[in-house]
Amino acid sequence: MTWLNAIVQGILTGGFYALFAVGLSILFGVMGVINLAHGDLAVIAAYVALAMIPVTHLPAVLAFVVVVPMFAVGGYILQRTLLQASLDRDPFTTLLVTFGLSVVIENVLLEVFTSNTQSLNIGSLLFDTLNLTPQIPVSYFSLVMLAVAVGVLGALQLFLSRTGTGRMIRAVADDREAAQLVGANYRHIFGIAAAIALATVSIAGIAYGILSGFTPTAGTANLLFAFEAVVIGGIGSLWGTLVGGIVLGIAQEIGAQINPAYQVLAGHLVFLAVLALRPRGLFGLRAAT
């Protein structure tokens, strides 16, 4: 039963990882940007929510309503300025720029919020559990986050396949120049993709702030998990990212069941195994370029 519990908890964690990773997958899939600041952007979202509460007196849960649109706008602006400027030079510059952004973010957060561990308090919501059996407690919040992850991925899927803008995002991802020939202002499309990516990562960031304590440098470790989820699931596949997150989550929980020290290691081993056996990931359609 403890193993079953490990799997259930792994699935719940996987939803969170998927939410974290989907923005990374979009940025890479659409514009070829490997965003090394992705984890740090999530941490910013948690800090913004934290800073907002004493000012607005809103419950922490409502931070989503304010922070997510804020990050969407911020993502568009970030893409149209800093990221586009570096893309116009060459892809390697983009890697350096996002790395630099990551360093800058961590240091500014340290300066403003100190290195003390913080957390977003949502009161009893976090600790209330649904007991499937006495041995398998399921936190309502984790359950809600998994549902949010599935909902976000489903909404994205619909957006990309049913709307004109979504189709154009896929067209730009396929062939940017050909997309220009059918009338795409690719910089604008890139901006929209970045807005989606940052909106999703801000949801993940706030959820992270609720689930565990966070510090200004917490982003880097989470970036690694997000990368692993994307690679396991396969680049360019939304549902693959969810499966990748769940596989990673289950691996970590099972590792922890064997020995708590093996939690992170087990995730890395599964990641390496997928990389060795299926380099395109479980659901990857296109070759990673």
């Binding site: 896929r170 067209a171 120049e177 220009q180 059918v182 009338g183 795409a184």
Partner: protein, 274 residues
Amino acid sequence: MSAAGALLEVDRLTVHHGQLRALTEVSLAVRPGEVHGIIGANGAGKSTLLRTIAGLHKATSGRVVLDGADVTHAPPERRLEAGIALVPEGRRLFPSLTVEENLLVGRHRARSGPFDLAAVYSLFGWMAGRRRQRAAQLSGGEQQAVAIGRALVANPRVLLLDELSLGLAPIVVQRIYELLPKLLASGVTILLVEQDVSQAMRAASRIQCLLEGRTTLEGRPGELSREQVERAYFGSEVSGSGADAPAGGLTGPAAAVGAARAARGEPGEGGPPR
């Protein structure tokens, strides 16, 4: 060449790829209802010319004018709205999108006009039945048809066609070229680039030959002699051997030979009198 009455006018266009000068003061004028054919060997600058007109390359100097409006510095999407659409070399469909999605994407900034998805489906009978297939699953000829459809649904005034015949079986090429009269009848003006000289001579109402980025010959296909075309195509140094190959027979392999000869020979004899 007079620009009077021209729908699309290119005026002394010079384009560089980095350090390399790809086009040198190339001018052309396409009148409404014409099929203007650009011929030339590999590397003559034909594709660069079309891509610059469509806005994918920046002009170093010179102008691109559509119906009196200067679009030289407009981005590709503005030129599409103004009425310039390019069917790029190698089709360049969006492989992960379906046939229908490729066409829908083409409608993104469409002008009003006769072409919509239904019109394209009636132009290519097979297409509607396979509209849910991914573009990557189509044959080369089918992809070319979708690529033309994708450009048509934007209802361009000038349709730029880059190497329609490339990599396609002759029968498929023939079928695609049979479309041109229908497109002209619907009011589209065509500027096409073709390596297959005989094909271009049959399809075009005006022919312009490029050699190493310069215009070497221009005129109506019926008024140009075989020798004139060969000289313009291969460069002035070619002699003797030219008489063996009829102008109508210059195709891919011959063009490659021509490119090699042109590389050794002098550049062309300058543009036609302006």
